[in-house]
């Protein structure tokens, strides 16, 4: 049984009797549209880990046939849309399907989809014992063979590094300040993501154990030898502030710079023109902001972005807002002002504004009223009998 010694994490064993083909393919599943709160949710959280559920449900021939049909269908689709079949990418497929089968369903996952069978059919483990009933992997009887084999691998690496350390000490070349692995801007894979990779269910304690082992590996001075291995278990975080598109700075006929931006809050929409070299007048819907917002709190909301950036008396603001109530309108205007300010402000300031929460759109919306209740949360009077 040749499973040992392999860096096996996931066994996509499609064919009977083949072993050793343990490929580690890091799948980046397409991440569905996330709500704008910055909680990172992996798609694997939402899908049941069907793969680890039971034995093979689809035969390899079936999968192969599906792949063939998919390829053929792709070419047909390209012909239909009048494009070149050779250079027809997945994005083009998505676009064409959305055009040919328009769907009004709200749930995006329920709409018609044409994707490669690998993405649709869940990965499954093949039968893990041979014709006589003997398992291939030496750790089969632990129940979580991939997980334990992974732990074994990590420990092997730790031992290898220790041996390397001793060798260096013997030679007298031991130094503590070796090349360290850069870990900023990345995080450990979540338990669900590891489960997905291992095609097995693991418990929380197992996950903690694995992370502890990895940390131990990292704590050793010569861990840079296994950098590649470790980085497979880290996921890069995107730099948030690069996601904001800064509205372009336009120029008036007189040469005055101005920028236009929009903002929304709770069904109130606002649109703003921020003009440079002004004197701090603010006109909203044609009226002075003092008349439009008699409440102090709303005027404070308007003031906050300008105060934060320190450009209080510099701009003239002309805005139009509609919908919702006065607080929501003030919030929408504030977001619009912050966005318009991005084009007048430096990079570091943009990051500061993001951290201050000026650029985040408030996702709170009016909660739906449910049937059987008075309102969103209020219930009817409870009668004991």
């Amino acid at each position: 049984m040749a499973a040992s010694g392999c860096r096996g994490v996931r066994s996509i064993l499609w064919k009977y009797g083949s072993y050793g083909k343990n490929l580690f393919v890091s799948r980046s599943k397409m991440v569905p549209q996330l709500p704008l709160r910055q909680i990172y949710v992996a798609s694997s959280l939402w899908k049941k880990n069907l793969a680890a559920a039971g034995p093979q449900k689809f035969t390899q021939e079936f999968i192969d046939k599906q792949v063939e049909e998919f390829e053929v269908g792709k070419r047909h689709l390209a012909n239909m849309m009048g494009e070149d079949p050779e250079t027809f990418t997945q994005e083009d497929i998505d676009r064409s399907i959305a055009y040919l089968f328009p769907s009004g369903l709200f749930e995006k996952r329920a709409r018609p989809v044409m994707k490669h069978p690998e993405e649709i059919f869940p990965k499954q483990t093949a039968i893990q014992w041979d014709a006589e009933g003997r398992p291939f992997h030496f750790l089969f009887y632990t129940g979580k063979q991939s997980y334990y084999s992974l732990l074994h691998d990590v420990y092997e690496k730790i031992l290898a590094i220790e041996r390397h350390q001793d060798k260096m000490r013997n030679k007298g070349l031991f130094t503590s300040d070796t090349k360290q692995i850069l870990l900023t801007g990345s995080r450990w894979l979540l338990k669900e993501e590891i489960e997905e990779n291992l095609v097995e269910n693991i418990s929380v304690q197992d996950y903690m154990r694995l992370i502890q082992l990895m940390e131990l590996l990292l704590s050793m001075p010569y861990c840079s030898l296994e950098e590649e291995f470790i980085l497979k278990f880290r996921k890069q975080l995107e730099v948030q502030s690069s996601k904001y598109e800064i509205p372009a700075l336009q120029y008036d006929p007189q040469g005055v710079a101005f920028s236009v931006a929009d903002g929304r809050r709770k069904s109130a929409k606002a649109s703003i023109t921020l003009r440079d070299s002004g004197s701090g007048n603010i006109t909203i819907n044609g009226r002075n902001y003092l008349h439009y917002f008699p409440v102090l709190q709303n005027r404070e909301q308007l003031m906050f972005p300008l105060l934060f950036v320190g450009m209080m008396g510099r701009f003239d603001i002309e805005g139009s807002v509609e919908g919702s109530g006065h607080s929501a309108q003030a919030g929408a205007l504030r977001l619009a002002i912050s966005r318009a300010l991005l084009s007048f402000v430096s990079e570091g300031e943009v990051e500061k504004m993001r951290q201050a929460g000026l650029l985040t759109a408030d996702p709170r919306i009016r909660e739906r009223k449910k049937p059987g209740q008075e309102g969103a949360r209020k219930k009817f009077t409870w009668k004991k009998r």
Partner: protein, 358 residues
């Protein structure tokens, strides 16, 4: 740049000129008690109590008014001045400033602090004793008579009635009685107080420009705040919940507003805050007075009052700092000042309310 004039003020109002704009001057406490028992805006009265003195900023609209008053010809019918402007820009304060000038010049003051009070929220509404279709407001009338008495003490003994007034079967005031008696009559007998008010106004009208020199000469200043109440709708109702056709006090005041007498001036200010059934954004004379009011008041001299400009704002800010009114340490910095400018948009009343809790 602000400058407190701490010495004797009676002459100072005459010397206010353009150069003093933005500076504060103190109202002497005796004057405040006599002239403005109910005349000043309530928040300003609170401020007087807190700071233990009443300081008024000298501003262009008031200066304009005072200059007109200085140059007007008092043998001709009186000029009507209307102070108009946005809410909270200082119309009532400018009116009081000009009135203080008149008082210090020795004029006779007829001051209606807020005409809106006569048009809404009246507790008692009696059918008039003299005319069947009119309605009286005894409480408001007697209140006003008391204030009038306090303000114009020295004139009361000098002026005499010109005709005989009959109040009820048993009471009447003969011709030639001093005005003080008339007023006492009104204060004591609540039922006929509104008619007394009418009589007093009539007397004053007749006698204002009458004698050019000598004992009886005086100039009459009629100051009405919230003039638009006179021609607007009332929110009062009779007992059977229909609208009253006419109110005595309003009727008499309207007569006063006409310029068929001479020897004085009519100073008025519009007011949206107390007005009944008027939208908040209306501040121009045509909007607030309505057609009828506008026609009646025509011709008039409009004086517009606006928010503070830079200099005035500075002055107000320094005044509050001087009096330790701005407690928060941040408000003393440049940043804090910019915040104040933004949040209040240099509107006097909003600035005052802002600073009140700093």
């Amino acid at each position: 740049m602000h400058f407190l004039f701490n010495f004797d003020n009676t002459h100072l109002s005459t010397y206010h000129s353009e150069g003093h704009s933005g500076q504060y001057y103190t109202l002497p406490p005796t004057h405040i008690q006599k002239l403005f028992p109910y005349g000043l805006p309530p928040r300003f009265q609170l401020q007087i109590k807190t700071f233990n003195e009443g300081c008024v900023m000298v501003r262009p609209p008031a200066l304009e008014l005072i200059s007109y008053l200085k140059r007007a010809d008092y043998s001709k019918p009186p000029l009507r001045y209307v102070l108009y402007g946005d809410i909270g820009t200082g119309k009532t304060m400018s009116l009081c400033h000009a009135l203080h000038y008149c008082y210090s010049q020795g004029w006779l003051i007829v001051h209606v602090p807020d005409a809106h009070l006569w048009v809404k929220n009246c507790k008692e509404l009696l059918p008039s004793s003299s005319r069947p279709s009119r309605f009286d407001q005894p409480i408001q009338a007697s209140q006003w008579l008391k204030n009038f008495k306090i303000t114009n003490e020295r004139f009361l003994s000098k002026l005499k009635t010109t005709q005989r007034y009959v109040w009820t079967k048993r009471e009447s005031t003969e011709k030639g009685q001093p005005l003080g008696e008339l007023i006492d009559q009104g204060v004591n007998r609540m039922k006929s107080s509104s008619d007394v008010v009418g009589a007093v106004l009539r007397e004053l009208r007749l006698q204002a420009g009458g004698a050019t020199e000598g004992e009886g000469a005086f100039k009459l200043a009629v100051a009405v705040d919230g003039v638009n109440a006179l021609w607007g709708k009332t929110s009062l109702k009779k007992e059977d919940r229909t609208m009253p056709e006419e109110l005595t006090l309003i009727h008499n005041l309207r007569k006063m507003m006409k310029n068929n007498w001479s020897g004085g001036a009519i100073l008025t200010a519009l007011s949206q805050t107390g007005s009944v059934f008027k939208p908040r954004s209306a501040y121009l004379p045509s909007e607030l007075l309505g057609e009828e009011g506008f026609d009646n008041m025509e011709p008039f001299v409009p004086v517009s009052v606006s928010n503070y400009n830079e200099k005035e704002f500075e002055s107000c800010y320094l005044y509050y700092l001087d009096r330790n009114w701005l407690q928060h340490p941040h408000s003393r910095s440049e940043e804090g000042k910019k915040e104040l400018i933004f949040l209040s948009n240099k509107n006097p009343s909003i600035l005052e309310r802002l600073c009140a809790f700093l």
